[in-house]
Symmetry: C2
Subunit: 344 residues, 2 copies
Amino acid sequence: MTRVVTIRDVAKAAGVSLSSVSRALNGGKHVSPRIARDVIEVAKRLGYRPDFLARSLRTRSSGMVGCLVSDVSNPLNATIVRAAEAKLREAGYLMVVASTANDPNRERAAADEFRGRRLDGILVAPGSGANETIWRELASGATPVVILDRDPIGDDGDPRWPAVLVDHRGGAKAATRYLLGLGHRRIALLTADAHMRPSRERIAGFREAFAEAGADPAGAQLCIQSTPMDFAQGDTLALLGGERRPTAIIALGTRILAGALRAARDLGLSVPRDLSVVSVGDTDLAAIHTPAITALRWSLEHVGHAAAELLLQRLRGDIAQAQSRALLEVDLVLRESCAAPRCS
Amino acid sequence: MTRVVTIRDVAKAAGVSLSSVSRALNGGKHVSPRIARDVIEVAKRLGYRPDFLARSLRTRSSGMVGCLVSDVSNPLNATIVRAAEAKLREAGYLMVVASTANDPNRERAAADEFRGRRLDGILVAPGSGANETIWRELASGATPVVILDRDPIGDDGDPRWPAVLVDHRGGAKAATRYLLGLGHRRIALLTADAHMRPSRERIAGFREAFAEAGADPAGAQLCIQSTPMDFAQGDTLALLGGERRPTAIIALGTRILAGALRAARDLGLSVPRDLSVVSVGDTDLAAIHTPAITALRWSLEHVGHAAAELLLQRLRGDIAQAQSRALLEVDLVLRESCAAPRCS
DNA sequence: GCCTTTCTTGAAATCGTTTCCAGAACACTT
DNA sequence: AAGTGTTCTGGAAACGATTTCAAGAAAGGC
């Protein structure tokens, strides 16, 4: 195997010093045009490729950003990750991912390792209960951090890091208002992880809509799925089979929606005649289901892009004009799954 | 900001040489127990954390592996990536991902950059037409490569790299045999990227089943979706609305299945009465659809794990006992979407 | 008690870059 | 022609670890 060609070889071959080669190759400032041309030509001929490790060591910048997310295989996260990755790659950064399965220990370990590897920045969406430990861990480093749809509030109440936030509150409010407008009075919100931002905001919006409309708040039923096992079918069966069952549901669009639809079918409830359904998140399932499910939609690509942009601003050092947060709006996509309730 | 603590600081504080610190911290061989204990204690007290970049530069091993995949946001890929990442992380490797959107140029660029970053190994599932260029690019390096469900055949006909292969042929054959057994004689296979391994193998298995059963091969209809735009709904409409329409379809379970189901609905075809459906891949959609769709299932986690394992064998240098490929079987999960065709 | 072997130890080299520094070359002004 | 900047250039010092090497110390065998 032939040894890899280093900057030293190029210098020798071109008959100049190491420093000149380095200067010629990056920037080209403080170097005469003739030498620059020669060096570049020789480097190409020899097939020289700079060693990022060595460069990183010297420049104290690894050219990599980390992405800490509960589970990349969740399509919602995956799309965000891909979008962010694409934008960061454009800017010359490599992205390393770590799925943590919502396990605080693994989150800590990953954050720890990210710092050891001197990553230039971190995108993070901590899972369930880990918020405190992982954020403390991150805070101890000087690495720029951007939060994905989580609360960036520190102990002192100040936003500690920039964040990309989705307006789940506004979305839930719009959906609820829509259902109330159709005449529904008992509506259930099926969501997960009540103490995390997305669900918390949704719940808030849900209740606000009831309050605004002057509807009986007892009609706003919550169904929290802490473990989205077997598509949450069991809980939904109980909910829909109960005495004062809701005439409409707003369900998280990944697995919970699937479980809810199946439960409805098992109970012989027809959508939208007996039950109106709104999906939180416009998934394939929602779009393709029969009938097609009305959905709250926000752009996952935007989330990824915005996060990457926020991080890049920090990395470029544009602290002055760097925004500290991005708020993404949520749309209600009307389809066929909602109707006025039958006289109850 | 306080400067980061290096091995030099530890040496000074412990009153020993740099080499002793290094020895004490890794392995602990060739160092007296007393010094080892002292050094470890001092290192912990000072909060020393080794710099991976510096270490990598010296040891010529970055501790990172790359993953080159067409699109991480595809749930199938995402699951594989997550599984591989988990296993590699256990072994101390970090994983960097690059989605290439099937763009040969981006694939090349990514492979290029991976090499520049001195990644220790690469997991790769090239998209469409890029096979040649990207493999040539990879072949020029000495980095261990593991192929994900693609043909690892080189110009000379020899398998160049280890690969994790899914038995799509066997799966398609089983599904086709099942449908033929139900009495279907006109079956359509809806798949994508006919020249890539997964679809090619499927097509082969599909035809083999027809041949084995002595059925008229003209009944084996192919519908190749090169662009899975709008869920391939248009093509499927034409197929199902045509003169000698198939009585059963086997459809790729991501978006094509969705388009097919919608097309069937639009044409007023009831599943399974008028049309039997088998999904290739057990997606949420297949499991939750009404009626539930019979599906070909293989474990994406296994693919990821197997790929990681194959790569780790190479990285550990167990070339001697390293396997060169893993073949994963495909099961047919029977549900409610298939029935005997009505007398035609 | 001396020689040989093994084990510890620290100094120094190395990995491949970038960057600081000082001197050289050159152009320009007076 | 001398003085004063400005731009190029190469040597050498980082960056922070690991690893080689040789010397010193301890242990063991006769």
